[in-house]
């Protein structure tokens, strides 16, 4: 998010600047925030810490349901084929 002016904002989409409307976003946004866009409307302010949380959740999946030995076995297998 680059600029906020009332109900509209200018957002940088990987280098492309576009206008986005803020009528339905879930919480107030400010320059520097990340948002989820859908058809020109911001529908979610993405809290910065949420990205790290999601990644941690995925890492957790690799361990889930097996003991550490087996997980490392899977990892080893993957390493071996890469």
């Amino acid at each position: 998010m680059l600029e906020v002016d009332g109900w509209t904002a200018i957002v940088d989409f990987w280098g492309v600047k576009k206008q986005v409307l803020l009528n339905i976003v879930d919480e107030p946004v400010a320059p520097g925030d990340y948002i989820l866009n859908h058809v020109g409307f911001a529908i979610r302010r993405i809290p910065p810490e949420a990205v790290a949380e999601t990644l941690a959740l995925y890492e957790e999946l690799l361990k889930d349901g097996v003991d550490d030995l087996m997980a490392s076995d899977v990892r080893g297998e993957v390493e071996g084929t890469s």
Binding site: N23, G40, I43, A50, L55, V78, S82
Partner: protein, 373 residues
Amino acid sequence: MNSELRFRDPKLARELAATLKRLVGEIGRPVAVMHVCGSHEQAIAKFGLRSLFPKGLEVIMGPGCPVCVTDTPEVDEGVLLARQGVRIATFGDMLKVPGTVQSLADAQASGGKLEIVYSPKQAVDIARKTSDEVVFFATGFETTAVATAAVILDDPPKNFSILSAHKYIPPVMEIVAEMPESRIEGFLAAGHAATITGWAVFEPFVERHGVPVVVAGFEPIDILAGLVELVQLIRDRKPAVKNMFPRCVTREGNLAAQQQLWRVFRPLGGRWRGIAHVPNGNLRLRDEFAHVDARKRFTIDLPSLWDYAPPQLARQCICGDIMAGIRNPRDCTLFNKECVPENPIGACMVSNEGTCKIWHLYGGVPDLAEVNG
């Protein structure tokens, strides 16, 4: 690595794929799951994820393409309005969707005024600059319907109205789960829609049908992680809702958006093309918004089109079975022969979110596991 790029990290992808393979192996029989989102299918095809799925796992695209499930009479309504001289604004995907006699593109070729927009806001902007009646032919699921609701509540000009073909996803999942031929053991729900509705919206569904639902995002890693979680729930026979897209989806969802959505729209039963009559599956404008409802503002004489029989080829189209997960595009005699994006017979070949169009673009479903033995 930049945290955005981590969602496309090949190493993490391979690890998740290996975990997926192990889990499917533990189940020890073929497993079929369904996603209900065109954006999921696009990501799966674009990033070649099917080549990472283990042999025993079938990932089927369900009725997740809003353009594809827009029913023939709804297209007819748009065509008839265009023939009356009304300026129709709609998403580009809608142009070639076959109606009973004409598509919107045909109506345009015979003099109809048509504008392609990517946001309902653009349709309003067009209306502000003309004295013509402008109708936004609104398609899309709840995520897009929220945007339509927002422009309606934002005091649009008097010459602006809506032809709503908006659809609501949760009821159609019920239909698919209840189909007698259904082999679906779990659903991958779309992150965008759940951002609005919240993940709790799926709890009654899970309770009724005893199948797990996992909410997933749209990056390759999001999808693989969602599938790992889903297959794990299937293995453990744990029907539950799991949210694997917590950076965007909460339990309650976006309350401000929901409030605008349900203030403007009410759910109503109606046909989804090729699927069935879906109770509460359509979103129609509430009476309070009759002044922006194109169905109330104009006379749309639908029966005038119904003397025409649909073209012979259209009867062979199996879009409905494909969206229900019973068959896939390779089972269709028309796929990539008579039916191609330039001349689509069925709606699934029209939209960029349609299974047939996606498989056509990316060369069908590359089963690299088979190729590699």
